[in-house]
């Protein structure tokens, strides 16, 4: 199976590096690589088929990568957006996830690292720093509620919120917040690394859903948005 990738990165060397790295692996195929928000938008309006993955740099010359992610989620609901970040710091990661991204890759890694990382992203989730895990724990703390681990597979992820974290997800979060790497988390919990990644992806997804739900509720509360159910085109 071949995964298609779109790249939005304004720095030519970085963009070339990503395209080159993707070209070294037959599982990946770059369908476009552009440097501005306008060029990326042109792809939406041209009705181009959605790539499986969209890599977006946040600091683009003609706009914010965050806005682009939100637009991409509307036009290409099935596309998974990933942020290209230099720092992978708490603030940018959380804002990206809240905008609709499912993870991030760090700039400054070798080609092999990038491919490996993208593979992880497809399989599971991006790295979760202790700071992001801590942020999530703080958001969960007020209720402290958690469902059973079995719910994590059967639960409806599209409507899940942070208050619906499973016990396993909470345990993963606590270990990540202490700086344990995925391998260590997997060993401590007696699961595979892929399971840990799966949980991390779920956590990012819940963080994004939770933020969007909060925004909608706040809008209804302020009577800015009618309290009708979202249309079928909404993700």
């Amino acid at each position: 199976m071949v995964w298609t990738v779109g790249v939005v990165e304004d720095e030519p060397s970085m963009r070339d590096k990503l395209v080159r790295a993707l070209g070294t692996d037959v599982r990946w195929k770059t369908v476009f690589a552009v440097g501005t928000v306008a060029e990326a938008r042109a792809r939406f309006s041209a009705g181009q088929a959605a790539p499986d993955t969209l890599l977006v740099d946040l600091g683009l010359p003609d706009g914010s990568g965050l806005d682009l992610i939100a637009e991409a989620r509307r036009h290409w609901p099935q596309c998974e957006c990933l942020v290209i970040s230099v720092f992978g710091d708490e603030e940018r990661v959380i804002r990206s996830v809240e905008a609709g991204a499912v993870g991030y890759i760090l700039k400054g890694q070798g080609d092999a690292d990038v491919i490996e990382h993208l593979g992880y992203l497809r399989e599971g989730g991006s790295p979760m720093s202790p700071a992001v895990a801590r942020h999530l724990l703080r958001r969960v703390a007020p209720t402290g509620s958690a469902r059973k681990a079995s719910d994590s597979v059967s639960g409806d992820r599209t409507v899940a919120s942070l208050h619906d974290l499973t016990q396993k997800e909470l345990e993963v979060l606590r270990l990540l917040a202490r700086g344990e790497p995925y391998e260590s988390v997997a060993r401590l919990l007696g699961v595979t690394v892929n399971t840990v990644r799966f949980h991390v992806k779920g956590l990012y997804s819940k963080l994004g859903v939770n933020s969007r739900q909060k925004a909608v509720l706040e809008g209804v509360r302020r009577q800015l948005i009618p309290a009708a159910p979202p249309g079928p085109s909404e993700p």
């Binding site: 710091d89 603030e91 790295p127 202790p130 700071a131 202490r178 700086g179």
Partner: protein, 642 residues
Amino acid sequence: MTAATEHRRLQLLLATVCLVVALCAGVWALSRPAPVPVDSVAFRLEQAQRAAGSPVWSTAVPVGQAVNLPDVWRRQTPKISGVQSYHFVLPPARWSGPSAVYIPRLGNRARVWLDGELLASFGDVELGQQDFTPRPLLVTVQLSAAGAAGGVASTPTGSPRRLVIEVAGSATRFSGLSDVWWGPAVELEARHAARDALLLTSTGLAGGGSLLLGSLGLALAAWRRNVLLVFFGLAGLAAGTRALLWIWREPGIPYTAWYASLDACFGLWACCIAWFALRVAEIRLPALEWGLRGLMLLMVPATVMAALDISTRPKEIWLDSTLVLAAVITLMLVGRAWRRPDGVSIALALGAVTVVTLSGVDHWNIFFSPDAGAYTRPYFSHHMALLFGVFMAASLAARFDQAVRAEQDLRRGLADEVRAQRQELETLYARERERLESQATQRERQRIMQDMHDGLGAHLTGLLTMVQRGAVSPGELEREVAEALDHLRLTVDTAGLEGATVTDVLAQLRFRLEPRLRKTGLVVQWSLDDLPGALSVEQTSHVQKLVLEALSNAMKHAQASTVVVAADRLGGLRRVRIQDDGCVVWHPEATLPSVGSHRGQGLASMRARAQALGAVLSVSVGDGGGTTVALIWPEEATPPAT
């Protein structure tokens, strides 16, 4: 002077004039003698023969001094007291049916005789324990029962009938005898009943009203703990009690006590209203207050002497002085109302005018009026007390109204003041917050600059030198750049770790360093317990840099293969340990470098950071080699001021 003040003064003038006119009209209406019916057949007996002592029936012709009625003992010189008998020769009757003798007023007790036969007794003439002064008396004469035909005015022997009214009294109680009516019982009973009812009703109502006001005043005084209301309540009770005592024919207490009670009530009332008026009007005149105290002192002997029938002189002086003082106070109250014509002052002034007017009328009637009819005129002191009570209540209501308005103004003023203060505080707070934010931004900027200089800057400079010398392999170059990038990421992380614990800081450090450390082959074992206590951004940076320095030393200089990074609690202490298995490059006790200047600078930098954290830095060497750097500080540590 404002137009409003002028307007209030006009109102005051008009109200005073209207009040005086109304009072005079009322006094005139009530003082008029009761009208004699046009078809009256009764005789008015206006002359009598007065003789001291009880009547003597042995003499056929009345003896004594011819007097005109009313005969007021206090007006005689010398004043008369004791028992006096008034002899009348009744004119022939011109009516049929029962006859009656109607006496509008006498003092204080009496017996009525007809031809030597006792018809009626009003009190015990000899004992002197009752007082029938204020109320009219009526004696029905059943002549047929006396053995003669009803309605005739002569004895069976044909001689004229002799009526004797034996009066026992005292000059102190306004004793004497009014004119006497002799006529048909039907007519005189009606006139007696009308006068008695008027007197009882008006005095009873005035007394009852005063008692009610007084009770309310005292209840309010107890509730509100207010001295003014005490004066008000006592005045009302005193006036009410006096009115009821006055119309009580047979009180059942010794006459002297009853008489003294009447005067005491009057004195108490006068003093209370005077104090009340002066306090409410805020008039503080020592001479006036001493005058009032003097009158209170004088009241006691004057009353006692009058009650014991020793002399009425002191009481007359006391009454005159009271009236004079009342007039002075009234003038002051009116003057104050003129100067400050508010509701309180006007009510007090009108009340005082009422008191002076009505007590002046009473005083005139009792002591000075040359009119013989003055003896039977009603007293107005009871009505005066009630009226003044009403004005007192009005002044209190006005005062309450003023207080409520003042309180509302005060509240408004306070609210405005609080609003202004809050606004000022908010402005100050905003400025202070701006200042603090500016300071924090400046500090953070300095920290970032320092970090960039020490971390990224140093790396890039070293890298530049290596590139310029051409002595750098691609692997080394990648490693150096990756390290520089890590430093940059740690600098960025620090900003996001505001309020984090030591464990959070070490966890983030581990997250950043682990991939690169793994590539170097160095085994790092992390053991992080949860340590309490939030760190500031500066403290976070210190912990981060200190651990980095120790790790860097273990990796680059000590050639260690394994490093343990541990965070744990030790009693009330927080401890962070970095323990390597490499060679010793720092002397444990050294403050100066043991080998090489760079390493010495590293240790000095670590000590400075520990000091800034308020922590103790210890460097120890294990028996089998290796170095342990430990950072220990209390959980509630306060870093030294910078």
